[in-house]
Amino acid sequence: MAAMIESMLGAPAGSIVTVRPDYTVITDGPSNRVTELVKSVAAPEKVVVIFDHDVPTGSPEAAFTWKRIHTFAHTYSCKFVQNVGIGYNWMMNEVVKPGDIVIGGGRHASIYGSVGALGLNVTVPELARVIEGGYYSFIVPQTIVVELKGELEGSAMDAAMTIMKKLGSSAKGKVIELVGSLSEHDKAVICGMVCGTGAFTALWSESKAADVTVDLSEVVPMVKMPCDDREAQEQAAILPRSAVRGVNVNAGQIGGIAGGTIADLRKAAALMEGRKLACGFRLSIVPATSKDYLMALNEGLIEKFIDFNAQIGAVGDRSVTWQGPGVIDKGEKLITTGLYTFDGCMGVKTSMVYSASVESVMEAATTKAI
């Protein structure tokens, strides 16, 4: 049986394919620089410009970036989207269909694999060529099939980190094909996270051939450890939480593709019942999209967050912020459901960021320790 990617592309691993993406995405994350390189746009109706990170703008520089990418969208008649939340989640909820090919300059496009689409990350110069030419050529990668056995009772983030730890660098450049019975939310979280191994992308399938097996009932709380800089992010250590139990933390954040959707907001609220925010701990909650925010509102969750004395942020992607709500100072520690842990990613160097599940963040919120 052919690997999923080979069926989708109609070509075997090792062959060169040229695809015309259904969507090419530019955000105000690192991919925003592409607007300085692009000289023409082959298929404007397929380019989506989303301002989703620095919302609301945390500096005049961010406002200049807004102007630049907005002017780009306007000049080339591309769709400009803002105020809706994280681009990935918005695209998944509103736009992307099974079989679509989505190319972006972020790191988590593999999330689209959870809805049967092909999500690819490219470098900024490559993104410029894709936008100018309207196509992308690459060699069909090998596939590694990961079978997830049993029921997941814990957090999808912990499951994802378990998978990532088991794979190590063996999935680098390959397509991770995931097999297992999980909720839509959990599939999206795992798909979005496993590209952290350097994989080409991730997809869900019904494949019978398993290269790696993970027993979901053995999943324990995990933590992605701090690392030195953005380039070292892929090598950041993943450890069982027990290895860092007791480490004092100053602040927590619940948000991002792995922590900001309604399922996770519900979890956070449930974990607030009968408990108090520790004095001296700052907790930010950033719903992933306006849709998630409104659902949380209607379910009474936002009021629970307010009563718990958490700070609720504007919808968007706050995983990397040098200036904006939720940042930490030199020498401080943050535990977050965000996926980045490089020094300075949430404020200034030298600070430490730990990536962990909603459950782990909530525990730290009441104890001030991992």
């Binding site: 409104l294 609720i312 709500p325």
Partner: protein, 600 residues
């Protein structure tokens, strides 16, 4: 300090505001040593590196207007400036400057005969001379000269504490003696607290404020100053609250956490237990928590402390050194202000709000028109305003340089505070003849007003700026982030969408307002329209990272200040308006008149 000295002049114009003296974003740098390099950064970038100790500033009117931040004075004294000569000074800056060891001299005329770089000679209490011209000047009050000579209030208080001074007891007037006679509201309130039966403008009265508030911009400086003064305890920690609203959520990585930690430390070391961390804006909480009550005196380390004057509370902002001295001794002196009576007649038309009333007044009397004065609002239209609308007006009275902005206490005040009217009904304005002037407005003739770039008093009626394209709209602040404000905005926005390229930021004033607004459906309306909602805090109003703008961007804001550079770069253009104007303009994408728009 010598009585005769000379110095090199730095020349300035009128209305040099505190953001010009030290930009807001620099004002949270933890030490003066670091911060002082940025004095006048936007106006005279060379100042920080070329100023010499002994240099003297010469300026026009209203020098130091704007914020209560003491740093506007300490960055100058830190750079060795010991004297400023101006046509007039803003009132909080006046106090802060003396407390920082800077001698202030009022002189009108020297400005026409000198330029930057000239040498001026000062004979304290006698004259100032430059380029062959001599101008007589007034005397300096002894107690203020003493503070300057001792090098500032910190040194002065240190000496007092070391000599064993103890907090004194308040001696308020009994209820039946309060408010008697033909006096202004400010006079009545000050006399009631100070325990005196008579006073006149210019008198110094010693009050014992009923409540003290510190917010998180100033926590490190308060802690540091209490230590420097040698303070071991406060007169009454139960009368103190600390509000974390400017730097919470922590958004400026290198600064905000230290402010947060300093607040907690003040609590631990000095027994302050009322901490409000990320619960909303200080001035909104002061009335929401009923800390600032009608008939009483409150003070805070912030300029917009005038807000609770809407409830007939005498409230005025002070700098950090003064706050520390007051916290230790329990005392705070006030110079009895002159007063302006503003009579508001008629009914506010649909689409016109109390914000428009105060903006109109500001445009008429300008940023120094209320300098050192109590502005007292009476008349049927004032009485018709609900409490939130009154707080809006009192909040912005500060922008005219006012000491306080006061409304009479009536049934609405009593209901809001759940107090018997008899206890507060004495908070009533005096006869017209007690006032320096009486201004009368018929609010029915009013159209919506906007403060235009780049001064709060650059007020224009909406007809003159209709159709101006706007890039971002901010609905929030202690001025207009209250429930009634959100209600009005929501009434214009239900079922509608904001303009395609519009950024619309909603910041409820407090957690309580946020929850109520959720229950009433306002937040849903805003988000469905395309807004993003931030956590209750000061946010964009004070230039924190919650929507900062770029060159040539136009911001329309319901806040209270549009000084150059405050919400972005020095080329960002900020307009101030009412919640109704903000709502309809967010929908249209351009400045729009709410009177022409449908609403629920």
């Amino acid at each position: 300090m010598e009585k005769v000295f000379s110095g090199r002049i730095w020349k300035f114009g009128n209305d040099i505001d505190t953001d010009t003296i030290i930009p807001g974003k620099r004002g949270t740098i933890p030490t003066i040593e670091e911060m002082k390099k940025y004095a006048f950064e936007l106006l005279k970038p060379e100042f920080g590196s070329t100023v010499r100790p002994g240099d003297i500033l010469v300026a026009g009117t209203n020098f130091g207007c704007g914020s209560s931040r003491e740093q506007a004075a300490t960055v100058l004294s830190g750079n060795g400036v010991r004297c400023i000569i101006a046509k007039s000074f803003a009132r909080i800056f006046f106090r802060n400057a003396f407390n920082s060891g800077i001698l202030l001299i009022t002189c009108d005329g020297i400005q026409d005969v000198c330029e930057g770089g000239d040498i001026v000679t000062v004979e304290v209490g006698k004259s100032v001379s430059v380029n062959g011209h001599t101008f007589p000047i007034g005397g300096c009050p002894d107690n203020l000269f003493q503070i300057v000579s001792n090098g500032g209030l910190i040194e002065d208080t240190k000496l007092r504490l070391a000599s064993g001074v103890q907090p004194t007891q308040a001696a308020k007037l009994p209820l039946e003696q309060r408010g008697k006679g033909n006096y202004t509201m400010a006079e009545k309130l000050l006399m009631a607290n100070a325990g005196v039966r008579d006073c006149k403008p210019g008198d110094i009265l010693i009050t014992h404020p009923d409540f003290f508030m510190i917010h998180d911009i100033y926590t490190p400086y308060v802690l540091d100053t209490l230590h420097k003064m040698g303070a071991k305890k406060l007169a009454d920690p139960d009368k103190v609250c600390i509000v974390y609203d400017h730097c919470m959520p922590t958004a400026v990585a290198k600064n905000d956490t230290s402010h947060y930690n300093a607040g907690l430390a003040i609590g631990e070391e000095y027994g302050v237990t009322k901490h409000h961390i990320g619960e909303g804006i200080c001035h909104s909480l002061m009335h929401e928590m009923r800390y600032a009550k009608p008939g009483e005196v409150a003070t805070a380390t912030d300029s917009h402390t005038t807000t609770y004057g809407g409830a007939g509370n005498f409230c005025s902002g002070i700098g950090t050194a003064e706050m520390c001295a007051a916290l230790i001794t329990g005392e705070l002196w006030f110079k009895v202000p002159e007063a302006i009576k503003v009579v508001l007649n008629g009914h506010l038309p649909d689409g016109v709000m109390s914000k428009d009333v105060i903006l109109k007044l500001l445009g008429d009397i300008k940023a120094d028109g209320g300098q050192y004065k109590s502005i007292e609002f009476v008349g049927p239209a004032a009485r018709e305003m609900d409490m939130m609308a009154r707080f809006t007006v009192a909040n912005m009275a500060l922008e005219a340089g006012a000491k306080c902005g006061l409304f009479e206490a009536d049934e609405k005040t009593a209901a809001y505070y759940d107090m018997p009217l008899e206890e507060i009904a004495w908070v009533k304005a005096g006869d017209d003849n007690r006032y320096e002037k009486v201004l009368t407005y018929n609010v029915e003739e009013l159209e919506p007003q906007l403060s235009c770039p780049q001064g709060v008093d650059n007020v224009h009626p909406i007809s003159e700026v209709l159709g101006t394209k706007i890039d971002e709209v901010f609905l929030g602040s202690c001025t207009n982030g209250n429930l009634d404000d959100l209600a009005v905005a929501a009434s214009y926005m239900k079922g509608k969408k904001i303009a395609p390229d519009m950024r619309f930021i909603v910041t409820p004033a407090t957690n309580k307002v946020y929850k109520e607004a959720i229950k009433l459906g306002y937040i849903q309306t805003f988000v469905e329209a395309g807004a993003v909602v931030t956590h209750p805090c000061c946010g964009l109003c004070c230039g924190m990272p919650f929507g900062l703008m770029a060159d040539d961007d136009r911001l329309l804001s319901t806040a209270n200040r549009n000084f150059i550079g405050r919400q972005g770069t020095k080329k960002t253009l900020s307009y101030l308006c009412s919640p109704a104007v903000a709502a309809v303009s967010a929908i249209a994408g351009v400045i729009t008149d709410p009177r022409t728009c449908p609403h629920e």
